[in-house]
Amino acid sequence: MGKFTVLAGVLLGSALLSSTAMAQTELSLWYHGAGNEVEAKIIGQIVSDFNASQSDWAVKLESFPQAAYNDSVVAGALAGNLPDILDVDGPVMPNWAWSGYLQPLTIDEAKIADFLPGTKGIWDGKLYSIGLWDAAVAMVTRKSTLEELGLRTPTVDAPWTKDEFMAALDAAKASGKFEFAFDPGMAWTGEWYPYAFSPFLQSFGGDIIDRTSYTTAEGVLNGDAALEFGAWWQSLFTEGYSPLAQDPADRDSGFANGKYAFSWNGNWAALGALTAFDDAIFLPAPDFGNGPKIGAASWQFGVSAKSEHPEGASAFIAFALQDKYLTAFSDGIGLIPPTPASAAASINYKAGGPMEAFYELSAKQALLRPATPGYVVAAKVFEKALADIANGADVGETLDAAVDEIDADIEKNGNYGF
């Protein structure tokens, strides 16, 4: 039986890969991008290039749909069944590292020196994961809209202040041309809320977790800055600036259909906006008093703790960090290339390219979500708090309850090692 399985595996492997597969040690790789053809093609290309480039390792790719990926990894880990290499969403990485799913990467620091900070998954002072791309969020609008409303075009160095932003929303609302002035993307529940909206809170001066200790949310998620943020957030919906219950279809095409004057959206949606309007532009986040902020970190590669061949796994990740692959991902699915060289070579992010703005935003405004194993729970609590506040719940009480829940979770977990 065992011999037969090995034989079948080798036969299958050699049929699929190349004739050199016989001598190679197999490394398994889990990836979250099943269902996306372009993405699958690029990652498949990297795998076959790597397998052909040396004779020690043969990487075998297994793809999962993104919605089921995290659950699969957790289930795999509980069953003691993790692959050698796995990809991990940036903010989730500390949770997996702390839980013992991941081991630190052994990649030459010099190789990633010029990578965007959001692509480096560092926890507890060690590099656990590295991304082949980053993602960024911007205020999508049209040049003509700004001109018609008589608004100053904000820049990364001089972003809109809170008052300017609210004046812009008022102007858009008063113009009567839009169904809603501002589309924050309420239809995208889940990680979008903490990813896209916690930077607003941080710009107000609050945060999801106190980053000085990482053991409490008291004072940062329910302090004065957070209360001010909560009141502002609620006012978006009570004053009619933003749609509370949004149809997912409106999220995808509402801006292109002219329903919204400003849309808070990621670089992955930028091509759509540019197709709809030639003069679509991507403005930096407003400064609510504590500097303009956007979220950072996307999917990254790491090595599982159980891997018997971490050197092979690291070799694959290092191999994937070549500029040509970084550029391929960017050109293929619109992601932000993590290095200046790969950005310069890309279609969308090169100097003068249509999405160049995002690279600068990513480099200058990006703030990582709190790097703590407790983030996974805190993010869910934060999402619910924002949804409740938007629906009219009392701001102070909701944020207090969120703090209590986050603190209780941190305590239950022995401070997550802090």
Binding site: V74, A245, D388, N391, A393, D400, A401
Partner: protein, 357 residues
């Protein structure tokens, strides 16, 4: 003392064996685990060792307190009133957060409150979301059990006739049952859509636009009702079939006798059909109640417990905590509480519907 179960019954056990073993492994064992885990601080994933924590999970889940607040008064002792003449009260938060004088209320939140004279009585809960889920689930059961059971009986009576094409109607009424509940929930999400949903368009057309568009699932006042209506529609066909099987066990001779005696349709139903459906009724009631208590998929697909916790349910919270928030002990505790509730209700139902000798 050899019982019926052990005596010369090898064939029986061999036949029951595979199913019984599967039940034991996948139903009984996990359930025993859940009871055990609810007394610990077990996490889904954690490098920390599991510790025994006694009843603290239950205290955290079910802890309630009552706080009676006197209205605020000015220096002369007169009650301060707002423009509507309502007295104002100190905020509950000032008692439940960082207040050393009231440690018993620490971390609690307001569940609901009512006026008692000039005083306001606040019922506080340690886990408001769970308490809301509990209330929502009970409302769901109280509405769904009679409505779904009654509608199913009505449908069963309608289709229990010898008419041309009656099988077509049977199939149509049964169709929602065989479609996955996830698919049904997605479809109903579109039906309930606040802008261009079928229901809103229908109401608009019927009323010539006088009924305003309602975001059925996005409004705390309508979300639970919308889910109740959709759930009743989805499962009514299943119970219709059970009623139908009950109807068809009633001997036609009884109906003939009733007809000869000159019984009216109502009398026939009341004195022939209904007594004949007694056991079926007990089964339908218990099954609907148990299914209704496990309300999950519709919530997960359609509302995620929102808006403002108006559609939180017990099972949704159990999954959300156990898996979403990685708190297996919390999820287990909820499951055990649910088990106790369903068990006691089933026992009460059995006692109420017992055969009176």
């Amino acid at each position: 003392m050899a019982s019926k179960f052990t005596r010369s019954n090898r064939t029986g056990w061999m036949m029951a064996g595979p199913a019984a073993a599967l039940m034991a492994i996948f139903v009984v064992l996990p359930f025993l685990f859940a009871i055990g885990l609810s007394f610990t601080n077990q996490r889904l994933i954690s490098p920390n060792p599991t510790q025994f924590v006694g009843l603290s999970n239950y205290e955290q889940l079910l802890g309630v307190g009552v706080l009676t607040l006197a209205p605020e008064t000015d220096t002369t002792g007169a009650v301060l009133r707002d423009a509507d003449g309502k007295p104002s009260y100190p905020s509950v938060r000032s008692f439940t957060r960082n207040n050393d004088q009231y440690p018993q209320y620490d971390g609690m939140r307001e569940w609901f409150s009512f006026g008692l004279g000039d005083n306001q009585v606040y019922v506080l809960g340690r886990d408001i979301v769970f308490l809301k889920a509990l209330v929502n689930t009970v409302i769901f059961v109280l509405v769904v059990a009679p409505v779904q059971g009654g509608l199913a009986l009505g449908l069963a009576l309608l289709i229990n006739q010898r008419l041309r094409g009656i099988n077509l109607f049977r199939a149509i009424y049964f169709m929602p049952v065989v479609v996955s509940i996830v698919v049904v929930s997605l479809l109903w999400r579109f039906i309930y859509d606040g802008n261009s949903g079928l229901l809103n368009n229908l109401l608009g057309a019927i009323s010539l636009g006088t009924i305003p568009r309602i975001d059925w699932l996005g409004n705390p006042g309508t979300a639970l009702g919308a889910i109740i209506a959709m759930s009743v529609w989805q499962a009514v066909g299943f119970h219709m079939v059970i009623w139908l099987s009950g109807l068809q066990t009633i001997s036609p001779t009884l109906y003939e006798a009733a007809a000869i005696e000159g019984a009216s349709p109502w009398q026939t139903f009341r004195y022939v059909t209904w007594p004949g459906l007694r056991n079926t009724a007990v089964l339908v009631l218990i099954v609907i109640t148990m299914q209704a208590f496990s309300l999950f998929s519709q919530i997960d697909v359609m509302t995620g417990g929102g808006p403002l916790d108006s559609t939180q349910t017990i099972v949704f919270q159990a999954v959300e905590r156990g898996y979403g928030k990685q708190d297996i002990s919390g999820g287990s505790t909820i499951s055990v509480v649910l088990f106790v509730i369903v068990l006691s209700i089933s026992l009460i139902q059995r006692w109420l519907t017992r055969e009176k000798k």
